[in-house]
């Protein structure tokens, strides 16, 4: 066997190992969600023999008795509305920062971007008190308002990058036709900036879908909880966890986000590299 062939074999072994390390924790959780409470403790490591009635019992308990669908509905409403409004506010701002030079424009854009890196705890308490004060505790609006603020810097940052990639000549031609800046944005550039809008929306959706630090205290009524809030309340109960149910909740929490990220996969890589490669 030549050194080259040997090298190829090693490469493939490493490749498979990388894949296993990446996927194993999720697959393990999936397997646990197919087991009964007792089997999880007895079978170490878990066997790959599954009992259909056990699987059905676990998933039935979470979906039908555990209000899973209510949580999904709450999550979809909150995520959808927050992302939409963040785009409506953030896309024009990204355009303005990309094209217009005004006094302090660099300082302004850096300030907005720096919010992306602020520790959420630093704003969590005032926001919590503010939401309570206006009486939005336990409402979707109570989550939507702070989530927009958390998503906006990301949207602005990503959009500046995408608008920068669109040649300025397009704006100039449109201006000769007598269009104003907002008109240029909405009539001419939005279709061209669509990949950027999808990338922003993707990251907004993922971030909001997963958020629970702020949500945890704004929502205390079970029927208003989003999926991660519901999942976290299950975890924080310090008494012995029912692992079959916990695993099922875990699987059902991440499946929507996994499906979603498969659909938008190429935009995810673009979004992650947007900050790094762009500037």
């Amino acid at each position: 066997m030549s050194a080259r062939t040997f090298g190829r074999i090693v490469s493939y072994v490493v490749l498979v190992l990388i894949g296993i390390i990446g996927a194993a924790p999720f697959i393990y959780l999936l397997i646990l969600s197919f087991k009964s409470r007792l089997d999880i403790i007895i079978e170490v490591p878990p066997s790959l023999h599954f009992n259909w009635s056990t699987i059905k019992a676990n998933y039935d308990e979470v979906i039908n008795q555990g209000h899973y669908l209510t949580y999904v509905k709450n999550s979809i409403i909150v995520t959808g509305i927050s992302t939409m409004i963040a785009l409506v506010l953030g896309v024009p701002a990204g355009y303005a920062f990309s094209r217009l030079r005004f006094r302090g424009s660099d300082t302004w854009s850096s300030t907005i971007l720096s919010f992306r890196f602020m520790p959420p705890v630093a704003v969590a308490i005032p926001i919590f008190l503010m939401i309570n004060w206006v009486g939005f505790a336990n409402t979707a609006a109570g989550l939507v308002l702070p989530y927009i603020a958390f998503t906006l810097p990301l949207v602005v940052w990503i959009m500046i990058g995408f608008f920068d990639e669109i040649p300025r000549e397009i704006d100039e031609a449109a201006m000769l036709d007598g269009l104003t800046r907002p008109q240029i944005l909405f009539r001419v550039l939005l279709p061209l900036a669509r990949p950027g809008i999808i990338v922003s929306a993707t990251f907004g959706v993922i971030f909001i879908w997963n958020e629970f630090l702020v949500g945890l205290y704004i929502i205390s009524q079970q029927d208003k909880e989003t999926i991660p809030i519901a999942a976290s309340s299950l975890l924080t109960v310090e008494s012995p966890i029912e692992w079959n149910i916990a695993a099922t909740v875990g699987v059902l929490t991440v499946i929507p986000i996994l499906l979603f990220s498969m659909v938008v996969q190429r935009y995810i890589v673009r979004g992650i590299t947007a900050g790094a490669v762009r500037q």
Binding site: S11, L15, I21, G22, A23, P25, F26, Y28, I40, I41, E43, V44, V88, P92, A93, Y95, A96, L100, F102, I112, S114, F115, F117, P119, P120, V121, A122, V123, I125, I127, L129, A149, L152, D164, E165, E172, M175, T180, P182, W209, N210, F212, L213, Y217, I227, P228, A231, W243, A247, G250, V254, I257, S261, Q265, I268, V269, T273, A276, V277, Q279
Partner: protein, 323 residues
């Protein structure tokens, strides 16, 4: 992504035209200054206004409250000056929390950078199925943090967890991953690295793919072997991306909350409590809003320093690209 380099050139071209003082023809004849100010306000105003209410105001409020003490019984705020801060800086628990946060930051980021760069170099070869594996390893960073905690608590369960079983089979005996106070913080580093190494990988790999192929060909003609080429050619070219990813990750690791909440809840005996978690616990669990605000303000100032460094890094890169 070959498109990236051409865009950079284009931006550099725009920059030179601006620098040489040639006004872009159409801009001059358009709209009066007042109208332009109106347009700027229209595009930017709503976003700015929103952030003032929901980001700037809370930050200012936190600063003010860090000098106050909340009395739960009478629901009043009392001015206490620097008392929260002096309590903070003389507290052993806070010092311990700072140490945990820095361990997570430096050890975690170091591991993630080394592994992330290694992964990028590894994937820089033609392998069947590589696209699928790349797709899989991007997923951990998108997962709901609370579920990541759940997964790893199962894997590390002392009685039946899979990783624990593997440790026993390999002869390590029972490892107190989450129960041993001197080990738990390293378990946190391990899980954080599982979730975030892909981030470094994605950024470095994108940069690697964007490098012109001729550089490597010239290197192999010179008779340099793979190791020499990597050390003297590839790594220096990747350095801007590596530094960017490292600083970005460090700022994110600095504010780690989710992982602690989901995996250890700060324990055992506060050995894994981070600054974010400490602020969270004091604020929301003990209703010590003032003290929690002081902790979070120390964080805000530290984060501001990190952000300044990050923006410097970004600026440096822009110059690199233009020259």
């Amino acid at each position: 992504m070959p498109g990236i380099s051409s865009n950079d050139e284009e931006r550099a071209a725009v920059a030179t035209s601006v620098a040489s003082g040639q006004p872009v023809a159409s801009r001059k004849r358009l709209a009066s200054p007042t109208q332009r100010r109106g347009e700027t306000l229209l595009l930017l105003g709503p976003c700015a206004l929103y952030l003032i209410v929901f980001s700037v105001y809370p930050l200012v409020a936190s600063l003010v409250r860090s000098f106050m003490d909340y009395d739960q019984r009478s629901n009043t705020w009392n001015w206490v000056g620097f008392q929260n801060y002096s309590e903070l800086f003389s507290s052993r628990e806070f010092a311990n929390t700072v140490q945990n946060t820095f361990t997570l930051m430096f050890a975690g980021v170091a591991i993630q950078v080394v592994l992330g760069v290694a992964l990028a170099l590894f994937f820089n070869q033609q392998l069947r199925g590589a696209t699928l594996v790349r797709g899989i390893i991007v997923l951990p960073m998108l997962l709901t943090p609370i579920v990541v905690g759940l997964m790893w608590r199962a894997l590390l369960n002392p009685e039946w967890g899979l990783l624990n079983w593997i440790a026993v089979e390999l002869g390590f005996g029972h490892v107190g991953w989450l129960s041993d106070p001197s080990l738990a913080i390293w378990t946190l580093v391990l899980v954080d690295s599982w979730q975030w190494t892909p981030f470094v990988f994605v950024i470095v790999y994108a940069r690697l793919q964007a490098l012109p192929q001729e550089v490597f060909e010239a290197g192999s003609v010179d008779g340099a072997n793979w190791f020499q080429r990597t050390l003297h050619l590839t790594l220096p070219l990747l350095m801007p991306a590596i530094v960017f990813a490292a600083v970005f990750r460090a700022i994110d690791a600095f504010r780690t909350f989710d992982l602690v909440y989901g995996l250890t809840n700060g324990g055992p005996v506060q050995s894994t409590s981070t600054l974010s978690f400490e602020a969270f616990q004091n604020g929301f669990e003990f209703q010590r809003y003032g003290y929690a605000s002081a902790i979070s303000y120390v964080m805000v100032i530290a984060a501001a320093v990190g952000i300044t460094i990050l923006f410097r890094v970004v600026k440096v890169r822009r110059v690199d690209v233009a020259t």
